[in-house]
Amino acid sequence: MDMLTVTIDGNKVQVPAGSTILDAAHAAGVDIPTLCYLKDTNVVGVCRVCVVEVEGAKSLQAACVAPASDGMVVRTNTPAVREARRTVLELIISNHPYECLTCERSGNCELQALADRFNIREIEYEGEKHKFPVDSSSPSIVRDPNKCILCRRCVSVCQDTQSVCALAPNDRGFDTMVGPAFADDLMEAVCTMCGQCVLACPVGALTESDATEYVWAALADPTKHVVVQTAPAVRASIGEELGMPAGSRVTGQMVAALRRLGFDKVFDTDFTADLTIMEEGYELLERLKAGGVLPLITSCSPGWIKFIEHFFPDLLPHVSTCKSPQQMFGALAKTYYAEKAGIDPKDIYVVSIMPCTAKKFEAKRPEMTSSGYPDIDAVLTTRELGRMIREAGIDFPSLPAEDYDDPLGMSTGAAVIFGASGGVMEAALRTVYEVVTDSELENIDFEDVRGIEGCKEAQVDINGTVVNVAVTNGLKNARQLLERISKGDADYHFVEIMACPGGCIGGGGQPIPTDRETRLKRISAIYEEDRNMPLRKSHLNPQVQELYKEFLGEPLGEKSHELLHTHYVPRSRV
């Protein structure tokens, strides 16, 4: 590869051709401030906080977009550069609410951090400020356009990564507002509630809809039996939210923290992930046998479900009728568990800890009440749980590891990998293979379907039948796959789709930042967790077996249909 020599603040560095000045500065160990820039996603050069001096150039250059060239001499910290950066920041702040004290992103806000770094203590010109209405229409995401700095990172993610295009810059000049068309609420737009825009936003203009208040109230209510379930991906990320390195495995500490917060029972979504494999595995087998609609597509990711409802309603018969593990858990907590524990289901309050903002929307879908009550009462993201643990003053890293409660706390390694793209597929293959062949699967690691790539494929020979599978993550990749399925040129039997890049470990409710690097670390944590589990196949989960014996009967049986399966609704494409 051609290398360029660039001088950054007097130091020579070598960078590959095609690098920007920002890349070169990075290589030289110089941190140029950025706001609108989001690596690989939003490279538009609009905010100009990253300006630098280039020898021979007439004006300051935006480092995030300006290409580096051989022999270039760059200065990143001159009076002119500092002045220009301060002016950019002051202009942004002059039309920004001073709400840091009450803002969710305080302490993790890129604008606040830069204001501090550039020692901005006073804003000379008090500009005209926006007074847009705050959009809290959805159970998932709050949009406060008054805090928006028009960087367009959310627009790029929603358009290019997710191909949803719910957001765009509207109007001109001072009136510019990034949001849905016609200033609609997110609930009226084609938004999937995936929350990838929340991860992308540098400030507090996009945040999750906070439910901690309801959970605190339930915990303080002596008449409520409050149970909690934790999604597979949260154990690989909650540590990060509480100051530990990315990819820390903290399952036991998380259970301990939840007990200290006062939950009556600490259960695991992994239990119903194992159950999902039983139901979905049998659904696949039945479709294969009976010539049903193929490929069967997974249904655990509610952002993905809303996406197909909006954009490919014709393909809905492909989607598994299985509820997601979160919803299966709620339905069982208020029936099976209520019965077993002798508690009136109306007194049971079910909280889920999810890496996902779309799960909040899913829990509020009107059809999710098959127990006679809302299956789920409150959904918290990883970030909100972190907030509660901090508020309670719990020293998370030093907690002893504790175990989940029975019976809804028992799980296998097949369930924990639901947290990473490819995990549902791998877990299903482990079980379907053994159920069909009645013999032990020797190599249970399906490496081909793991990882962060957009589309992964594998072929598995099950008793002479070749099963073709595909796995995809991120909604743009999903769209491409669905277009192929639509045209009939995708010959798969089983397809796994997750709305978020990398799967749930990269979900919209995860710690910020969530970037490629943190995603990869969380993925390794998930597979390490799997390797350390005594049982690694869903059908071997003894509590799941008991559930079928005592309560459900058999997979796809009548009770399963009533409690664990659901249906979908076509939605508008615009």
Partner: protein, 164 residues
């Protein structure tokens, strides 16, 4: 008040819909045609209400967010129908120098609109034009076909009162 001669605000005729559909059909499948389609549709309907934007988004298979983003970006496109009376304010250099900004401000105050816009009752639309060729007489304001020269802010109300 019942309208006898004009179409009510927000009402689109079936004939207009049909014409817009023809425009969409003509351009469908070609790329980079959004602005052209919006322009032609606006010529047919007079403005670009939500219904028409949705038709265009669906017909061209373009996200509604993109259509709306383009419509609101260009001053040429309007979300509201033209008012019964069109006030053209000259912002050419000469008129600008002679203080047309004060006129705009007064218009905004009296009509409750900001910049180029249409009043909610559909009585007036304000639009900005460049030089009407009467530079010596600035600031120049035209209402429908009537030209007003050397307009002062305190004359605005009297002028507006002439139009229903």
């Amino acid at each position: 008040m019942a309208c006898e001669t004009c179409t009510c605000i927000g009402e689109i005729t079936d004939e207009q819909r049909e014409k817009v559909r023809e425009i969409i059909d003509y351009y469908e499948g070609k790329s980079g045609v959004l602005i052209q389609v919006l322009h032609e549709a606006q010529q047919v309907v007079g403005y670009l209400p939500r219904e028409i934007q949705v038709m265009i988004a669906e017909g061209l298979d373009i996200p509604l967010s993109e259509v709306y983003s383009v419509v609101t970006f260009y001053a040429l496109f309007s979300l509201k129908p033209k008012g019964r009376n069109v006030i053209s304010v000259c912002k050419g250099t000469a008129c600008y120098v002679k203080g047309v900004d004060a006129i705009m401000e007064k218009l905004g105050e009296d009509l409750g609109v900001k910049g180029e816009d249409t009043t909610d009752d559909g009585r007036f639309s304000v639009e900005i034009v460049r030089c009407m060729g009467a530079c010596g007489l600035g600031p120049v304001v035209r209402v429908n076909e009537d030209i007003y020269a050397r307009v002062k802010s305190d004359q605005i109300k009297v002028i507006l009162d002439k139009y229903e």
